[in-house]
Symmetry: C2
Subunit: 340 residues, 2 copies
Amino acid sequence: MPQAGSRNSLVIGVDIGGTKVAAGLVDHDGGISARSRGPMVARGKATEALGAVTSVIDALFQHNQGACSAIRGIGICSPGPLDPNAGVVINPPNLPCWRDFPLAAEVSRTYQLPVRVDNDANAAALAEALWGAGRGFRNVFCTTLGTGIGTGLVLDGHVYHGRTGAAGEGGHMSIDYRGPRCTCGKRGCIETLASGPAIAKRARLAADLAPGSSMLELAGGNLRNITSEIVGAAYARGDQVAREVLCETVDVLTLWLGNIVDLLEPDIIILGGGIAFLLAPFFDEVRDRLPSFCINPRSREIPVVPARYGADVGIAGGAALCSQMLQNDDNREPLVHSRR
Amino acid sequence: MPQAGSRNSLVIGVDIGGTKVAAGLVDHDGGISARSRGPMVARGKATEALGAVTSVIDALFQHNQGACSAIRGIGICSPGPLDPNAGVVINPPNLPCWRDFPLAAEVSRTYQLPVRVDNDANAAALAEALWGAGRGFRNVFCTTLGTGIGTGLVLDGHVYHGRTGAAGEGGHMSIDYRGPRCTCGKRGCIETLASGPAIAKRARLAADLAPGSSMLELAGGNLRNITSEIVGAAYARGDQVAREVLCETVDVLTLWLGNIVDLLEPDIIILGGGIAFLLAPFFDEVRDRLPSFCINPRSREIPVVPARYGADVGIAGGAALCSQMLQNDDNREPLVHSRR
């Protein structure tokens, strides 16, 4: 049987969402060579939801029979909260059918393979640290900017979980304690200031005050139809109001990253998700301004880079969880080695 | 020679400040059995400053000759920035005579003992994790609240240093990005909202609006003489204005701790320093309110406790650095073992 790190070994990465499951075969270098997908069953019996997951894994095996003998394990990104060490999904709001559900044990029993489970933000950070933009760095801060803001920490080469596995909720750090109320109940969380919906909200306010902005036109004349995608499209056309909206967003994001640098001084900062794509033209500005938002005298040396993985990040993340587990089992050493 | 962890072994902890040096003999349990102190030479030749440090260590040896054979190493808290791995002090603003100074190597050469150097916040966190309020916890967040706000992180049983040793500057995390300017240049750092000088500033504003407060009387009728100590004394007398000042401070501190919990989910939060002593009557309130300042569903289980060490924290911290280094050399395992 090939070893975890060998060039021929494969792992299966599984990405469980509230409405769909995706899986892929992932090689030793993080390349995804085959995919399958299907609907998720979020409500109903726990076994039905498990069946939705195994159907997608079954399809992957069936369509890649030549590769089956090289598959060494399965890693799964699941909605949390969950206990990554026990592989138990606790009580995800988006998957009410699973409550204290031993997902890792069930999938392991079905396929007779080792299985590792973690949440999507941690898995994404590990995939980037092992195979992506953070390859070769020991301390990686990875954030996924989208409808929400997720964060994952890879410290000293391993996912940092905290006391119960609930660390890495950096999207709910407040930078404005008297600011707007977040969906979580706190005020001024970066998620409520810089996520996709936050950008759309800023843009609606700005377009209302500047009716000449092309954002209104792109939204069919209805302010309420302005989305973060429309802000991006308007910016691409040269719209100054859209530019200001994005600059304001970059400002608060950079301050938040400055806080992260002062507390954790990561070796690299990785920005992923749809909003990171939208903000890509501003990455130089983030790098230039970071030193004014932290006291770290060498923050300028910390790379701020886009993520390698896009829509596939859940598959890669699941695979990374499994790959690191296998590697640790093989030699009890971190898979990430320092560049320093 | 006794082993690091043996009950008879001792280490020397040295606390270097801008104006004084203190040293102590520390046993396997973090107890301090002897002390010496002297003035620090902050300006002048590097060797003079080194001489100020070795004089204090020499005195400790001379007055404890019976214990000399049990001393296994020396740990030093020094003003930063510094490189803890190399034991080099880089360019501390408070110690301009040391620039890229190999402090660990120099002291080691003088005494023919292993030497470890780190900054005071990291050392304090380690002392609390090994011997103090955080004993038995793997992930310890320790903050020293005083004229400034220092933070130290012990993660998975070891001081977390970040990329260059400059992690743990949590006092300069902003929770109010449009707030008051901190001495560091950022806006709304917790240090500028909840340190001793910040409390005094709040109190001056409050006493100005409420001249009946006893704070003004305690300050000899001069608003500018109000200090955080006076706020504490007035609170102890039942002054409602002083109480409100401390409640406001507790509010922002708790929000900041909520941010820390969401990002790092430590096993325990330890509050030390003079301002923590001042706020001790409010610790229950911090614990009660923490859940409303983080999304962590089990934050109520995280202990928020006072530090073991007070004025001796630098000696204990230095000793802890050395003790862990010796322990790691002995068995390459973390000295802190999980309670979980």
